[in-house]
C-alpha cells in the first residue's frame, strides 16, 4: 500500500465520521472570524437558538472595513456608516458569545491571515477555517486550512465540524534554488501562470521541492495564500525546522512538556516518500523570473523582461477573447513591453504580502531613493499592529516615509477596497495583493500583481522595472 500524503494524514486525524454517502464529518480546530462573512452566521445561530460549540476555538478581528488612517479615533474613525455597523456587529457578536476578538484599537488587530500565525493561533497539524478564501495561507504550517462560506461559518460555530468530500492530492514541486530578487510571490504567480486559475480545482495542493523548503515561513505563507488563485481551496507545505522555529514562543503556542509532545507529532506532518499524488507539476526554481500580471485573472502573468501577449497568436477562441477583453479593460497594447506599463499607484500590503519580511524586502529597495513624481500615491499597509510595531522598531517606517511612501495602519485596505483605500477609474496599480479581477481595487481600476520588491522598484521608477537591476 502506498504511503500517505500530508493531506491524507491531516484528513485522517480529523475524521469524526465517514458517512456511507461519501461525505465525511471533519473536526475543525480553529475558526478565524472577521466582520464581513460572520454577521449572518451569528444571526443564524440566534434564530435557531444555538450556541457556539467550543468558544475557545474561535478568534476574531475586524480587517476588511477598517480605515488605515486616523486609527486613534477607533471605531469612530470609520466614516462609512455601513462599514461601521459591520465592525460594530462583529464586536457585539463576539461579546455576546464570549469569543476573543482583537478589536480595532488592539495592537494585535490585523488581517486574519497575518494574526493567526503571529499569535501561534495557527499551529501545525490544525484544521483551520475562515469565511475568506485566503485561509489557504495557514497551510504553510502543515495545516489543513481553507475558506468557507457564511453558512459553513455558522455550521462550524454550532458543531465544530464541517461536512466535507475528500479532495484529490496534487504536488507542485519547485526544484533548485531561486535567483536573486525572486520571491515566494514570483514563484506562486509563475505556478498559476503555468497551471491556470482552475489548475488546482478539486485538489489540495502540497508545495514542495528545494526552492519551497528554502523559503522562510513568510514566503511559504505567500505561496499557500494564493493556492486559491490556482483553484485549490487548500495549499500546504510540510512541517520542518523552519516551521517549528517560527511557532515557538508565540502567545497561543504550547510550552514545556506539551510543546515537546506537539513537536514530536508535528515532525510527522509531511508526505511519505512513497505517497502517491493524483497530479504532479514541476517547475525549475532557477528559471523563475520576477513576475508581473498584465490582465484581469491571476493566470495572466508575464516575466518582467517579457511582453504583453498578442491575442492574434492565441489559437483557442475562448482564450483569445479573454485576452482581448483583458487588454481592453487594462488599457494595454498587444506586444507592449511589461516595463513600459506606466503606473498611477503602488500598494504594498494584503494577506499575501504584508508581513515583516515583505516590508523588509520593499524597504531595502526604496532605501535612499525617491518615489517617482509621476505617481499619485504609494502606500505601505502592514498586516497587523504587531508587524507595524516591529517595522517601526527596525526603522522601516522612516525608510518608506523618506522615500515618499505613505505608512499606514493595518488592514486589508486596497487589496479589495472595502475601506476608503481604492483606485480611481483607469488607474494602474502595482499591487502586492492576490487578485487582479476587474474592479477589485476600485471601479475601473487596473491591478498588476507583483512581489513587494517589484512593487517598491516600480514606485521608484513610476513604471515596472526588473528589481534585479536595482539590487546590483
Amino acid at each position: 500500500m502506498a504511503g500517505k500524503t500530508l493531506y491524507d494524514k491531516l484528513w485522517d486525524d480529523h475524521l469524526v465520521k465517514q458517512r456511507d454517502d461519501g461525505s465525511a464529518l471533519i473536526y475543525i480546530d480553529r475558526q478565524l472570524l472577521h466582520e464581513v462573512t460572520s454577521p449572518q452566521a451569528f444571526e443564524g445561530l440566534r434564530l435557531a437558538n444555538r450556541k457556539p460549540w467550543r468558544i475557545d476555538a474561535n478568534l476574531a478581528t475586524p480587517d476588511h472595513n477598517v480605515p488605515t488612517t486616523d486609527r486613534a479615533k477607533g471605531i469612530e474613525g470609520i466614516v462609512d456608516p455601513v462599514s461601521r455597523i459591520q465592525v460594530e456587529t462583529l464586536g457585539k457578536n463576539c461579546d455576546e458569545f464570549g469569543i476573543l476578538e482583537f478589536k480595532i484599537m488592539d495592537q494585535r488587530q490585523g488581517i486574519v491571515h497575518v494574526i493567526g500565525p503571529e499569535q501561534g493561533a495557527t499551529l501545525p497539524g490544525m484544521t483551520i477555517v475562515c469565511g475568506d478564501s485566503h485561509t489557504s495561507t495557514h497551510g504553510a504550517f502543515g495545516c489543513l486550512a481553507h475558506g468557507i462560506g457564511t453558512s459553513e461559518v455558522e455550521h462550524v460555530l454550532a458543531t465544530q465540524c464541517l461536512v466535507q468530500q475528500k479532495m484529490k492530492n496534487m504536488l507542485v514541486k519547485v526544484n533548485g534554488q531561486l535567483g536573486k530578487g525572486v520571491t515566494g510571490k514570483d514563484v506562486v504567480l509563475a505556478i498559476i501562470g503555468k497551471i491556470g486559475t482552475a489548475g488546482g480545482t478539486g485538489h489540495a495542493i502540497e508545495f514542495g521541492g528545494e526552492a519551497i523548503q528554502s523559503l522562510s515561513m513568510e514566503g511559504r505563507m505567500t505561496i499557500c495564500n494564493m493556492a486559491i488563485e490556482a483553484g485549490a481551496r487548500v495549499g500546504m507545505v510540510a512541517v520542518d525546522g523552519t516551521t517549528i522555529d517560527y511557532v515557538k514562543g508565540r502567545p497561543f503556542s504550547p510550552t514545556g512538556e506539551t510543546w515537546d509532545a506537539a513537536v514530536k507529532y508535528w515532525r510527522t506532518l509531511h508526505s511519505d516518500l512513497d505517497a502517491e499524488f493524483d497530479k504532479i507539476v514541476e517547475l525549475d526554481g532557477a528559471e523563475i523570473m520576477p513576475q508581473v500580471s498584465w490582465g484581469t485573472s491571476p493566470e495572466m502573468v508575464a516575466d518582467v523582461t517579457g511582453n504583453v501577449p498578442d491575442p492574434a497568436k492565441e489559437e483557442d477562441p475562448i482564450k483569445r477573447e479573454g485576452i482581448e477583453r483583458a487588454l481592453k479593460y487594462m488599457g494595454l497594447q498587444a506586444n507592449q513591453a511589461i516595463t513600459d506599463i506606466m503606473l498611477d499607484r503602488v500598494f504594498i500590503g494584503s494577506c499575501t504580502n504584508s508581513r515583516i519580511e515583505d516590508l523588509r524586502e520593499a524597504a531595502s529597495v526604496v532605501k535612499g531613493r525617491k518615489v517617482a513624481n509621476s505617481l499619485k500615491q504609494a502606500m505601505v499597509v502592514p498586516g497587523s499592529g504587531l508587524v507595524k510595531a516591529q517595522a517601526e522598531a527596525e526603522g522601516l517606517d522612516q525608510v518608506f516615509i523618506d522615500a515618499g511612501l505613505e505608512w499606514r495602519d493595518p488592514g486589508c485596505s486596497m487589496c479589495l477596497a472595502m475601506n476608503a483605500d481604492k483606485l480611481g477609474q483607469g488607474e494602474h496599480c502595482a499591487s502586492t495583493s492576490n487578485r487582479n479581477f476587474e474592479g477589485r481595487q476600485g471601479f475601473g481600476g487596473r491591478t498588476h500583481l507583483v512581489s513587494p520588491a517589484m512593487a517598491a522598484a516600480a514606485a521608484i521608477a513610476g513604471h515596472f522595472v526588473d528589481v534585479r537591476e536595482l539590487l546590483n
Binding site: 478568534l59 462609512d80 499551529l123 475558506g147 468557507i148 462560506g149 459553513e152
Partner: protein, 215 residues
C-alpha cells in the same frame, strides 16, 4: 432551507469563462449584515454603466444594453448558463445570495470553483456540471431560440431541453439529499453530537495543545 426538486425556467446564456465572485457581487455590497437584498446588484459592474453604491435605488440607474440579463428576451430567466470555472475567487456567500435573490434557481457550467459550488447548495441553488460540448450545444440553442427553457430534475439528475433531449448530471448523494428535502445540515450534523464529543475528548488527551486558549 428551500427544497429543490424540479425546476423549469428561461435560460440566460452568459458567454464568458472565469466569472469571479467579485464580478457576481462587488465588494461594496458585502457591507450588508443581511442575507437578502443582493439581487439588484447581481453582476453590478457588467449590468449598469455607472458605479453602484450600497442602499441606492438601482431601478433608476443606466443599464448596459449589451449585458445579457438586460436583454428583454431573457427577462425572468431562472437558469443561468455559464462557462468554465464559474464562481472563482472570493468565498463570499453573497454570490449565491445575489443569484438567488435575482431569481436564479440553477446555474449550468462545464466547471465551477470549489467554494462557490459548495455555497450554492447551502442556499437552495443548484449548480450543475455538464460536459463542455453539451454546454456549447445549450448555448447555441438558448441563443437561437427566444423563450428557450430547460427543465431540471434533481431526483432524476437530468436536464431536459424543449425538444425532449435529456442530459444526466452527477451530484454527490449527501448534497442532493439535503437539497431535495430542504434540510438544515447543522441539524443533521448535530445528530452526531455524541460522536463529535467523544472525538473531542480523545483529542484533548492526545493533542492537548489544540485546546489551549491564548495568553
Amino acid at each position: 432551507m428551500r427544497a429543490f426538486t424540479q425546476h423549469q425556467g428561461i435560460v440566460a446564456p452568459m458567454d464568458r469563462s472565469n466569472v469571479d465572485t467579485d464580478m457576481i457581487i462587488p465588494k461594496q455590497f458585502l457591507k450588508s449584515i443581511k442575507r437578502t437584498g443582493f439581487g439588484p446588484n447581481l453582476f453590478d459592474e457588467l449590468r449598469y454603466l455607472d458605479e453602484g453604491k450600497p442602499d441606492q435605488d438601482s431601478s433608476q440607474r443606466p443599464l448596459n444594453p449589451d449585458f445579457v440579463l438586460n436583454q428583454p428576451r431573457y427577462k425572468g430567466a431562472s437558469v443561468l448558463l455559464a462557462r468554465s470555472n464559474f464562481g472563482c475567487g472570493s468565498s463570499r456567500e453573497h454570490a449565491p445570495w445575489a443569484l438567488d435573490d435575482y431569481g436564479f434557481r440553477v446555474v449550468i457550467a462545464p466547471s465551477f470553483a470549489d467554494i462557490f459550488y459548495n455555497n450554492c447548495f447551502k442556499n437552495g441553488l443548484l449548480p450543475i456540471v455538464l460536459d463542455e460540448k453539451i454546454v456549447d450545444q445549450l448555448f447555441q440553442e438558448a441563443e437561437s431560440s427566444e423563450g428557450y427553457k430547460l427543465t431540471v430534475d434533481l431526483e432524476a439528475k437530468t436536464v431536459v431541453t424543449p425538444s425532449g433531449e435529456s442530459f444526466g448530471f452527477d451530484v454527490d448523494d449527501f448534497r442532493r439529499h439535503c437539497l431535495l428535502h430542504g434540510l438544515d445540515d447543522i441539524g443533521v450534523t448535530l445528530e452526531d453530537a455524541e460522536l463529535i464529543k467523544s472525538y473531542e475528548d480523545q483529542r484533548r488527551q492526545t493533542a492537548p495543545w489544540l485546546f489551549g486558549a491564548g495568553q
